[in-house]
């Protein structure tokens, strides 16, 4: 057995070669995706081999980065969002880098003034609704969070538990932004009384409970992403002219998540890491983002693909909360929410 293992190990060890390119390791979460051609171009241009370490969801990847900060697993970390930003900065995970491309990125995304973490993309957690359901029942689509507590929407919304799901937490934060820390629990009490359905994870909410997805569940409204309608078109069973779902984009109904990239403290490949970040902020990569990850580019020069233009509504007044506030109160908010809604 040991022999077999040895053979396998030996065959898998990197083979030395004469003009060996350097390796740049990028640590990220499971949802990271990119076009192969773009990566190959970057590799050729900089004589580098990119290695990606995808380690579970955002929280999981961040934990690994924190635990290994004495002996970093990678050179670059991508996928940090604004809810975890302060924690990562407090840990001192990153080295500052003021990329020249930051000029092309609107100020609203540049949350970290010291440029330890640079914004790459953003997405909105929004309520998706099943268009057909509202048509058939002659029901008006709600336009604000408050309206969801009205009787005609009783039992129509499914959401994820903020303790176990990132869109669930984002939606909770949207309500805190809308009603304030003093009043949000009152709102949740009303919403719970109005037949709010809570499940643990996005997969169950979207594929089991939501009627607009392939699962054809009982609830016509679900907490999902603003880009989900576009995905319904792109990943349809047969070609569709129009998405079967849409997002509710009233003021503060959607919570904006921004994702960041940073150079991990202690990297031996600082120059390459900078090149890679510039590459991520460049138009080519930024335009690749929507179709691969179903989020939006922060670079204002990047064009959106047609499916997004047709099917995705970008909220003009998304909810947001200061990263420090989230960091300080995350646990309290979640626990109060659990006490109010679940118990």
């Amino acid at each position: 057995m040991l022999l077999v293992l040895a053979v396998i190990l030996a065959s898998c060890a990197p083979k030395p070669s004469t003009t060996e390119p350097q390796t740049l390791t990028v640590m990220t979460h499971d949802s990271f995706a990119v076009s192969e051609t773009l990566i190959r171009e970057f590799e050729a241009e900089h004589n580098v081999r990119l290695a990606f370490v995808r380690s579970g969801d955002t929280g999981s990847a961040l934990n690994q980065a924190i635990l290994s900060k004495q002996n970093p697993l990678a050179d670059v970390f991508y996928g940090l969002d604004n809810t975890f930003l302060t924690r990562a900065l407090e840990e001192g995970l990153f080295e500052a880098y003021k990329s020249p491309l930051l000029d092309e990125i609107p100020d609203q995304f540049e949350i970290d003034p010291d440029h330890f973490a640079l914004p790459v993309d953003y997405g909105d957690v929004c309520i998706n609704y099943d268009k057909a359901y509202f048509d058939e029942n002659n029901l008006a689509v709600p336009t604000s969070l408050k309206e969801l507590t009205q009787l005609e929407y009783a039992g129509l919304l499914v959401m994820e538990n903020p303790a176990t799901s990132s869109p669930g937490l984002a939606f909770l934060m949207a309500t805190i932004a809308e009603f304030g820390e003093e009043n949000y629990l009152d709102y949740w009490r009303e919403l719970a009384d109005n037949g709010l359905v809570v499940v643990s994870d996005w997969e169950t909410a979207y594929y089991t409970n939501f009627s607009g997805s392939t699962g054809q569940g009982p609830q016509p409204m679900v907490v999902s992403y603003g880009s989900s309608p576009a995905a319904e078109v792109i990943f349809a069973e047969t070609e569709l002219d129009e998405a079967p779902t849409a997002s509710i984009i009233g003021p503060n109904t959607c919570f904006r998540q921004i994702e960041f990239v940073g150079i991990l403290n202690g990297t031996q490949n600082r120059d390459l890491a900078e090149d890679f970040i510039d590459f991520m902020l460049s138009e080519a990569f930024q335009e690749d983002i929507p179709m691969q990850m179903f989020v939006f580019p922060v670079n204002e020069n990047a064009d959106l693909p047609q499916a997004f233009i047709d099917n995705v509504q970008i909220p003009t007044e998304p909810a947001s909360l200061p990263s420090e506030l989230i960091h300080a109160n995350r646990e309290d908010w979640i626990e109060s929410w659990i006490e109010t809604v679940l118990d």
């Binding site: 057995m1 995808r54 303790a163 176990t164 994870d201 569940g217 079967p244 995350r330």
Partner: protein, 570 residues
């Protein structure tokens, strides 16, 4: 020197230690080292941990629920599994082989997919609810399954029944039928025979199966989260929430330690109950002692059981597989013309990298990787498992200490172990390998307790007289092992290989930490599809799951076929 060595090997404790050497080193290096390092790092004031500030309610509440649901789930699993074991050990019926393979499949499936399977069957728009609504003209679905305690119990029974069936029916079919016959001629009715002879003789295997099932339920995670819903939290779910969503690693560590202590206590309790019963079995070739059901009552009971097993274990799988080849009309105007009917589109799409994604996984590659990991897991665990089984055969007090330590990986949360691996093995040589060798090692840690619990009783039951006979006939020690032990162990080895295969193929938790994009596994690929919106993604996830089931069923079929045909030389 050699004399001294020889006299040492005569002492049971020394012999046990020699057998333990490799397994203990493996466990120590790959399990205890990372865990201790992690706990040592996290439970310190540097990480903001203050023992005094620990709210004990945050421990007792999940602990209480974890124990209660595990006990209840295990009880239900026994209620279904024991009759199942009886059926498989004693009767021949059409479709037996197929049913045996099918009942093993739930074990490998990722919870996401099982949840989808149950949903297709019992969900608000599952066919059972739709059928009942149509039948009784109901407005709303009569069966509320998802997000209930009942769903947790059902899913646990669904997952774990196979453990009881495999472990117990294996022991049952090896029982000496003369003992039952002796009881009968001494006036014991069939029920008395069962209670007085069969059951006590099955006790060790039932207890072993119960222990494994209980521990699996005790550390349940995905089922609680996805089918139980947000009201329910086991220790493992709390660990997940605290570690990955609250970033409260010290609390997650405390919960992990609590879970490990409980695992240890449960194992010790089991060992005390099981005692050290040495049982001689009469190894039988397959199907001897089994028969067709004869009396009306027997026929009724066996048919009923087959139906229960089919509907409980196979129906959710079948509805899943069916859904992967069927398009459903979406009943929505905007969706254009979607026709209901047979389709292979989801399977075709698996082979297409639509968006030119760097991380696209061809299904064959995922299947190949999964099988490679499974093969390494099997190699490691069978080798170590046989060594441990021989160590446990020695009458030595060190076994009482080392055996429970072997079971602990079953109680370790995948998240904790994954994080421990990151901090300890994030250095050469492991960081140099592109091949994630840590992945099959993690699988081996989980599979080893199963394999030891399968091999050890089988080994104990081989009478020494057979070895002595072979020795007397001139066979040197290694030859004795090959001629006597190995062939008599072969049924247990086959069961072990199946456990190794299924545990490795289905493992997701540790895999998601340790895998590398170059080596995705089938469960990882499934998860990738189902975590994105869109009918096509959903269909592809189901198609990939069906492939996983086919790969696994094929594996089991080949292994069992191999067993049936290779008796002569194995």
């Amino acid at each position: 020197m050699t004399d001294r060595l020889r006299s040492l090997t005569k002492k049971p404790t020394w012999r046990a230690l020699i057998f333990w050497l490799l397994p203990a080193a493996f466990l120590g290096y790959f399990f205890y080292q990372p865990l201790l390092a992690l706990f040592n790092l996290l439970i310190s004031p540097d990480w903001g941990f203050r023992l005094a500030e620990l709210d004990l309610n945050r421990l007792w509440q999940p602990l209480w629920f974890t124990t209660a649901q595990a006990a209840l789930s295990t009880l239900l699993t026994l209620i279904i599994g024991l009759p199942g074991a009886w059926l498989f050990a004693n009767y021949i019926f059409p479709g037996k082989k197929l049913l045996k393979i099918l009942t093993t499949l739930p074990f490998i499936l990722p919870t996401v997919v099982v949840a989808a399977g149950f949903n297709a069957l019992l969900g608000p728009r599952g066919w059972l609810n739709l059928g009942l609504m149509a039948l009784f003209n109901l407005e709303s679905p009569p069966i509320q399954f998802l997000n209930t305690f009942g769903a947790i119990l059902t899913a646990h029974v669904f997952y774990n029944t196979t453990i009881i069936i495999r472990v117990v029916s294996n022991a049952w079919s090896q029982q000496n039928i003369r003992l039952q016959q002796a009881a009968k001629v001494l006036g014991a009715s069939p029920w008395q025979t069962f209670r007085e002879v069969t059951l006590p003789l099955l006790k060790p295997s039932i207890l072993a199966g119960t222990l494994l099932v209980f521990l699996f339920n005790f550390t349940s995670f995905g089922v609680i989260l996805m089918l139980g819903g947000p009201q329910f939290a086991t220790l493992e779910v709390e660990i997940y929430v605290q570690a990955l969503h609250m970033l409260n690693l010290p609390l997650a560590s405390i919960l992990s330690i609590l879970q490990l202590i409980c695992t240890l206590a449960i194992t010790l309790g089991h060992n005390k109950l099981a005692g050290h019963q040495k049982m001689t079995i009469v190894p039988r070739s397959q199907e001897i002692g089994t028969r067709k059901p004869k009396h009306t009552l027997e026929r009724l009971a066996t048919t009923l059981l087959v139906i229960i097993l089919f509907s409980l274990l196979v129906a959710p799988l079948a509805s899943l597989a069916l859904r992967s080849v069927v398009k459903l009309e979406a009943s929505r105007g905007e969706r254009g013309e979607i026709t209901r009917g047979f389709t292979l589109q989801f399977y075709r799409e698996l082979g297409v990298n639509r968006l030119g994604d760097l991380f696209y996984v061809p299904p064959i590659t995922a299947a190949r990787n999964s099988l490679i990991f499974a093969l390494i897991t099997i190699l490691i665990t069978i080798t170590l498992g046989i060594l441990v089984a021989y160590a446990l055969r020695q009458r030595s007090p060190i076994n009482a200490v080392l055996d429970p330590l072997l079971m602990l990986p079953l109680g370790a949360s995948a998240i904790t172990l994954g994080l421990g691996f990151i901090i300890v093995f994030n250095r050469p040589p492991f960081s140099n390998f592109r091949f994630p060798i840590l992945l099959p090692i993690a699988h081996s840690l989980v599979a080893l307790p199963f394999i030891v619990r399968t091999l050890s009783p089988a080994l104990q039951s081989i009478p020494d007289s057979l070895r002595n006979a072979a020795r007397a006939l001139g066979a040197p020690p290694l030859r004795v092992w090959r001629e006597i032990d190995l062939p008599l162990l072969s049924p247990a080895i086959i069961v072990s290989i199946i456990f190794g295969l299924t545990i490795s193929l289905g493992e997701f938790g540790a895999s998601s930490f340790l895998t590398r994009p170059d080596y995705p596994t089938l469960p990882i690929a499934i998860f990738r599809y189902i975590s994105q919106p869109g009918a096509l993604n959903y269909g592809q996830a189901l198609a990939m799951s069906t492939l996983l089931m086919i790969v696994c069923a094929g594996g089991i079929f080949i292994i069992e076929h191999f067993q049936a045909t290779s008796k002569d030389w194995l």
